[in-house]
């Protein structure tokens, strides 16, 4: 019996020890597959790689130096940051109010919640096209409705002064439900008893809100900020579909600009430089925010 057991047990232990890695290998290979182009971008950002001429000789940090001196780059950076701050602030604000409204237990609440979540499931490009149709200066329905109410119509995507705001509005249409749904889930996951204790302790709603609800919701708030900031920084779909970065670079974010550099002006090396800078910003910010999230979670659980 024992040698059979040893035999079986030897084969068994190989399988038992390495099962974790065997299950894990395919995903690991695929991830390496994704990392390879990643590396390629970083390496090529140090060359003057050009799509048409096919040249790709090493020019050190040439692209980055050119970048610093290029006013277009600084404009794109400004636009990207303004877009992110505007969109995230608007979405988080309205999202919080929406979560409150959808948690009041009004009649038909389940229907409102289902309807409320639909926009986040729209393909962003489709949302951009929908709003582009509605924001048309003449035939657009928005101007018609504003005029009905006695307000002046707007150029919306057509003028460089209002284009960025319009694009933020479209982004908000799609992603307000993102923030709203997650805040709603956060509110619903709050433990019930501490609030009953606060009610019995005769504590005012504002005091409970400030001292109990906000700290408990902090992890959820950080999660929404993390996902929305990252998405907005690298955003391409809505802006490209709605304005292609125009008019006059008013909505030209870094992503869109790097697209143009590589395809319209075939300066791939320079385009990679843009992307590496954007990626660096994103990586640092996400690392910081994930750290904040871990701290907030441990604080809520009280370690």
């Amino acid at each position: 019996m024992s040698n059979l057991a040893n035999g079986m047990e030897l084969r068994q232990s190989f399988w038992r020890k390495n099962i974790a890695l065997l299950l894990f290998l395919p995903a690991f290979l695929l991830t390496v597959g994704i990392l390879a182009p990643f590396g390629y971008s970083v390496v090529m950002s140090f060359t003057n790689f050009n799509l048409t001429t096919g040249t790709s000789d090493f020019i050190g940090i040439g692209n980055y130096v050119k970048l610093i001196r290029d006013p277009e780059f600084w404009n794109s950076l400004k636009v990207t940051i303004l877009f992110t701050i505007g969109a995230v602030a608007f979405e988080v604000g309205v999202g919080f109010i929406a979560a409150y409204l959808l948690n009041l237990g009004l009649v038909g609440q389940k229907l409102w919640r289902t309807l409320f979540l639909l926009p986040v499931m729209l393909p962003p490009t489709v949302a951009a096209i929908m709003w582009k149709l509605m924001m048309a200066p003449i035939q657009g329905v928005f101007n018609y409705l504003l005029q009905l109410v006695g307000l002046p119509g707007s150029e919306w995507l057509g003028s460089s002064s209002t284009a960025l705001l319009s694009v933020i509005l479209i982004d908000a249409y799609v992603f307000i439900p993102f923030a709203g749904m997650i805040f709603l889930a956060g509110v619903q996951n709050l433990p019930k008893e501490p609030y009953e204790a606060a009610a019995v302790d005769g504590v005012s709603n504002w005091f409970t809100f400030r001292k109990l609800t906000i700290p408990l919701l902090k992890p959820v708030i950080i999660i929404v900020l993390l996902f929305r900031i990252m998405d907005c920084l690298k955003h391409f779909d809505i802006i490209y579909a709605a304005t292609k970065g125009g008019p006059a670079s008013a909505t030209m974010t870094l992503s869109v600009q790097s697209y143009y550099h590589s395809f319209r002006w075939t300066a791939m090396g320079y385009s990679f430089a843009h992307l590496v800078v954007l990626w660096a910003i994103v990586y640092v910010l996400s690392y910081f925010l994930v750290g904040q999230w871990k701290k907030a979670v441990s604080e809520v659980h009280g370690y």
Partner: protein, 287 residues
């Protein structure tokens, strides 16, 4: 809170809710409106809320039949784009589930070096700008001769579906208490028996939700499809850009194409509404 103050808050809330619902529903309603208006009505001013509807735009976009006095066949690529989307999305989801589910199980159940940094690397892909991977793929795929092919796109789409599948499935596996596996091992089941009889049945709804959510994200993707596909294999979402560039006037058809493109995402979303919050946050917030 006395009687009056309570009702004021209630009224303001109801008004707020109505505004929120209008903000959400009006765009969908309006674009649907445009999609069933005749080319004349669609560009008329003031915009028409009441009109005699027509399925003209859908017949042109979907069937390639236009009414010019009598039915003429008109060249339309939309059905092909729609099919491309189905092929690429099913392919991408299948691959990332095939590869992602076992990896998620091993992340949830076993301890090994480098586990957490692998998970974070996957997460960081989600946050990285898409172009930083797409542009190199554009160059590499052309060299490998798989540019614009379905399997090329299925591989590229892994950047969207794989990180998502692994993180979400890991959450679902971690929801199964370890005691259940211990109990099954004591009851005399091997690893495979436990995975088949205990883990899979319990995680089945999770697998379905992850697959559907991955499908929706792949379906909604624009950039990958726009750059890495040839005209033959272009998915439907990127194809919408075609409407904007040259046939500026055909708004009705563009609205119809938009409605058809968004329908699959919306319908599927309603099925997995329960898991949506969990999906959107990679499992960090349980809905």
């Amino acid at each position: 809170m006395n009687r009056e103050r309570f009702s004021v808050v209630k009224i303001v809330s109801i008004v707020g809710l109505i505004l929120l619902m209008l903000w959400t529903a009006f765009p969908l309603y309006w674009v649907f409106n445009m999609s069933i208006q005749t080319p004349l009505d669609v560009i008329s001013y003031p915009p028409k809320f009441v009109f005699d509807a027509t399925l003209e735009n859908y017949s042109v976009v979907l069937l390639g039949k236009a009414w010019l006095g009598k039915y003429e066949t008109v060249q339309t690529d939309f059905p092909r784009y729609f099919l491309n989307s189905l092929i690429v999305c099913f392919g991408a989801v299948a691959l990332s589930m095939l590869v992602g589910v076992p990896a998620a199980y091993s992340l949830a159940r076993y301890r090994f070096r480098g586990k957490e940094n692998f998970a974070f690397t996957l997460l960081s892909f989600r946050f990285a700008p898409g172009l930083i991977v797409i542009l190199p793929l554009f160059v590499i795929f052309r060299r490998l001769g798989i540019y614009g092919t379905y399997h090329g796109m299925v591989l590229a789409y892994q950047l969207i579906t794989l990180p998502f599948s692994v993180w979400l499935m890991r959450g679902f596996f971690e929801d199964i208490p370890m005691e259940l596996e211990h109990a099954a091992r004591i009851d005399g089941y091997s690893w495979w028996g436990i995975f088949r009889k205990v883990d899979l049945p319990l995680v089945a709804p999770g697998i379905a939700a992850t697959a559907i959510l991955s499908f929706i994200f792949a379906w909604n993707e624009f950039l990958f499809g726009y750059i890495l596909s040839s005209d033959v294999t272009r998915p439907v979402t990127p194809s919408l850009m075609g409407f904007i560039s040259y046939e500026q006037v055909l708004w009705g058809q563009m609205a119809a194409a938009a409605i058809i493109t968004l329908l699959p995402s919306l319908i599927l979303a309603i099925f997995i509404q329960r898991y949506l919050v969990r999906g959107l946050t990679f499992g960090a917030v349980k809905g």
